[in-house]
C-alpha cells in the first residue's frame, strides 16, 4: 500500500465539554473506530470528566442556553429547523431536562446507548477511557469518584505517550 493511503490505525480523542452533545460525538467516534478495527482512546478533560464521574454520568444534559445551534425542530414541536430555540425558554427549570429527554428518545431509536452503557460498550470493545489528571485535581476528584470502566488517570504527557505510533490521529472534539 502506498504511504498516501496510510490507514488510520489509532484514534485518540480529547473531549473537554460535559454536555450530552459534547460527550456523544467522542463516544460515537471511538466506538465507530473499534468497529472498524481501529484502536481508540478517549481522554476526558475539564467538563468532559462529567462523563466518567459516577454521580454525573447518568445525568448529562443538552445545553438549552448559550447554544445558538439548538432549534425548534424537535419531535412533538415539529417546528422548522430555521427557528432557533429561545435562550429565555432554556433558562426555565426543567427545560434542559425536557430537551434532553427528547434527544435521548431519538437516540435510543437509532440504537445509540445511554452514556453508561456506551462507556461499557467501548471498554468491552478494547477502547481505552482515560481521565485527565490535572482536571481531576482541579475538580477535587479521586479515582473512586469515577466509573469502574476508566482505564487510568493520565497526565497530558502520558496521554501523548499512549498516542505513540505511525497511523495515530489525534482529535479534539
Amino acid at each position: 500500500m502506498s504511504t498516501d493511503n496510510q490507514p488510520v490505525k489509532k484514534i485518540c480523542i480529547i473531549v473537554s465539554r460535559g454536555s450530552l452533545d459534547g460527550i456523544y460525538p467522542a463516544l460515537i467516534m471511538a466506538n465507530g473506530a473499534r468497529m472498524e478495527g481501529i484502536e481508540a482512546s478517549v481522554f476526558f478533560t475539564f467538563f468532559g470528566l462529567n462523563a466518567l464521574v459516577e454521580k454525573t454520568l447518568d445525568h448529562l444534559k443538552v445545553a438549552t442556553v448559550g447554544n445558538p445551534a439548538l432549534n425548534m425542530a424537535m419531535p412533538l414541536l415539529n417546528l422548522p429547523i430555521t427557528m432557533p430555540f429561545p435562550s429565555c425558554v432554556g433558562v426555565i427549570p426543567g427545560v434542559s431536562a425536557f430537551a434532553t429527554g427528547l434527544m435521548s428518545r431519538e437516540m435510543e431509536k437509532l440504537d445509540i446507548p445511554p452514556v453508561r452503557e456506551f462507556l461499557e460498550l467501548i471498554s468491552d470493545s478494547g477502547g481505552k477511557l482515560f481521565a485527565c489528571r490535572l482536571a481531576m485535581d482541579m475538580f477535587k476528584l479521586k479515582r473512586e469518584d469515577l466509573c469502574d470502566r476508566v482505564d487510568d488517570v493520565l497526565t497530558v504527557g502520558q496521554f501523548y505517550e499512549d498516542a505513540a505510533g505511525a497511523g495515530t490521529h489525534l482529535l479534539f472534539t
Binding site: 465507530g32 473499534r34 468497529m35 440504537d111 460498550l121 468491552d124 470493545s125 478494547g126
Partner: protein, 103 residues
C-alpha cells in the same frame, strides 16, 4: 462480479460481500473467513453467523449494541471472534450485506 469461493460460483460486490445471501453455505463462510484472517471457524463463530443471517432475513438493522444484547455473544467475545472489524467481518462471512450503521 462472479467469482469462485470454495468451489462455488457466487456473485460478490467489489468488497467481496455476497450479493445473494441464499447462495451461502458453511464452506463459503470458511473460505471468506480465512481470507479475512478469522478462524478456523468454531461453533462460537457459527452461532454468531447464523444469528446474523436470521436477523438479516427478518430485515433487522444490525448494530454492535444489538449483537451484545442478543444473548448470542457478548461484545467482548464478538471482538475476540472477529478481530479487526467484528460486525463487518462477521457479516461478510455470513454472506449478508455490509452493515451500514455507525453504531
Amino acid at each position: 462480479m462472479i467469482t469462485t469461493i470454495a468451489g462455488h460460483e457466487v456473485d460478490v460486490n467489489e468488497e467481496g460481500y455476497l450479493t445473494d445471501m441464499t447462495r451461502w453455505n458453511e464452506a463459503i463462510a470458511a473460505a471468506i473467513a480465512a481470507g479475512e484472517g478469522v478462524g478456523p471457524l468454531t461453533d462460537a463463530h457459527l452461532k454468531v453467523i447464523h444469528y446474523l443471517r436470521e436477523q438479516q432475513a427478518k430485515g433487522a438493522a444490525l448494530t454492535i449494541r444489538s449483537m451484545g444484547k442478543s444473548g448470542v455473544v457478548t461484545t467482548k467475545e464478538l471482538y475476540d471472534l472477529f478481530p479487526g472489524g467484528p460486525l463487518k467481518k462477521s457479516s461478510k462471512i455470513a454472506g449478508i450485506p455490509k452493515p451500514v450503521g455507525c453504531i
